[in-house]
């Protein structure tokens, strides 16, 4: 029964990892930008949520309604300025620029908020309350809420990308930027919208992580970015639902590892990540057969 419990916990935490990963995957898929500051932005979102809750006393669970639009706007602005400027030089330059951004954000957070960890207190009821099945399976309501949020986000993203005018333009620009220009589309604006989506989703991930665990200035790079990368690679680059599958596989591996020995939690996740890289480097969901 403890194994079933571990798998359920892993499955649910996979939703959180999908929130970390889908924006990273989207930005790479559309503009070939690997945003190394992706995780730090999630932490920034978490800190903004803490600040907003402290100042305005909005209900904690709903703080994302303010944080997500703010981060989406920041994503659009950063894409149109810093990232686009780097992109105009070369895709490689964006790696250096987003790495720099990551360093700046992380040290800025350290400077102003110290290295202490902070959580977003959602209240004991949601954190501790759980659905108990027998004595060994405990499903925390908070994790269920986060998993459900991830599924809703992915469904929403998929609907937006496949049905809306801008979703169509995002896919068109990802396919052929120049041809999209010839159709009258300003790809910079379209990139900005894609970045806004990416930042919005990772902001939600950051807030959710702050509720589920603790945030520190370094959480962005040592946890969120790494898990996002692992989920994207396991699931398959450019695949939206692949990030959920990748997140779930990563989460289950970690929980099973932890069940064997608590210190194996991280290791087990990365072993699966490595195994996928070796056996199926295109990811689990990639339709493209290897040539």
């Amino acid at each position: 029964m403890v194994w079933v419990n571990a798998m359920i916990q892993g499955l649910l935490v996979g939703g959180l990892y999908a929130l970390f990963a889908c924006g990273l995957s989207l930005m790479f898929g559309v503009m070939k930008v690997v945003n190394l500051a992706h995780g730090d932005l999630a932490v920034v979102a978490g800190y903004i949520a803490i600040g907003i809750i402290f100042v305005t006393h909005v209900p904690v669970l709903w703080s994302f309604l303010i944080v997500v639009p703010v981060m989406a706007a920041l994503g659009y602005a950063l894409q149109r300025t810093l990232i686009q400027t780097a992109l105009d030089r070369s895709v490689l330059t964006t790696l250096i620029v987003t790495f720099g951004l990551s360093v700046v954000v992380e040290n800025g957070l350290l400077q102003f908020f110290s290295a202490n960890t902070r959580g977003i207190g959602v209240g004991l009821s949601l954190v501790t309350a759980s659905l108990n099945i027998g004595s060994q399976i405990q499903i925390a309501y908070l994790l269920v809420v986060i998993f459900a949020a991830a599924v809703v986000v992915l469904l929403g993203l998929q609907y937006f990308l496949s049905r809306s005018k801008y979703g169509r333009l995002i896919r068109a620009v990802a396919d052929d930027r120049e041809a999209a220009q010839l159709a009258g589309a300003d790809y910079r604006h379209v990139f900005g919208i894609a970045a806004a989506l990416a930042f919005g989703t990772v902001a939600l991930g950051g807030v959710a992580y702050g509720m589920y665990s603790q945030l520190a200035p370094t959480t962005g790079t040592d946890t969120i970015l790494l898990y996002a990368f692992a989920a994207v690679v396991i699931g398959g680059l450019g695949s939206l639902w692949g990030t959920l599958l990748g997140g779930v596989v990563l989460g289950v591996a970690q929980q099973i590892g932890a069940q064997i020995n608590l210190s194996y939690e991280g290791l087990a996740g990365y072993l699966v990540f490595l195994a996928v890289l070796v056996i199926r480097p295109e990811g689990l969901t990639s339709r493209r057969a290897q040539s």
Binding site: R168, Q181, Y187
Partner: protein
Amino acid sequence: MTAPDGDRPGEGTPLLEVRDLVVHHGQLKALDVISFRVFPGEVYAIIGANGAGKSTLLRTIAGLHHPTSGSMLFEGNDITRLRPERRATAGIVMVPEGRRLFASLSVEENLQVGATYARPGPWTLDRVYELFDWMKGRRNQPAAQLSGGEQQTVALGRALVANPRVLLLDELSLGLAPVVVQRIYGMLPQVLETGLTVLLVEQDVSQAMRVASHIHCLLEGRTTLEGRPADVTAEQVEAAYFGLNGAASTTQPSEGSEA
């Protein structure tokens, strides 16, 4: 701007005018002082061998290359510094070489992208479906699954739904079977009926001579021949195309009375 044109008197203001255009690819001079005018309703064909600079010329007009010097005017306005997407919305729409469909989008989505920033005009998705009758039934198919000829017609449709004033066609015939090329060019009269002007680049000279109202031959980035298909002889075209008998230095055919 109503100065009568030497070649085509009485056709009014040019829709598109290229003045002394020089374009470099790195060190290489791809276009060397090219000038011409395209009048409303014309089919203006740029012909020339591989590497003559035809596609470069079209891409520069579409805004995808930056000229070293010279200028371009559209409806009397300078567009030399305009971004490609702004030129498209102004009414200069190109069907790029190699079709360049959005491969992961369906046929209909490709057309929808073309219509997103469309000018008002006669072309709609339905009208395109009317023109190419096979298309509607397969509109949900991914564009990547189509044959080359089908892709070319979708690329043409994608450009048409933007309701361009001038349609730039870059090597429509490239990589297509002659029968397919015939069929696509056969659609041109129906396209022109809606008041479009066409500027096309074509390697297939006989095809260009059939459809064009005016031809302009390039050789190594320079103009070697310009005139109405009826006014130039096959020998002149051949010489201008291949640069035989020192014809590269001839810029204009001797133009006497109307043929």
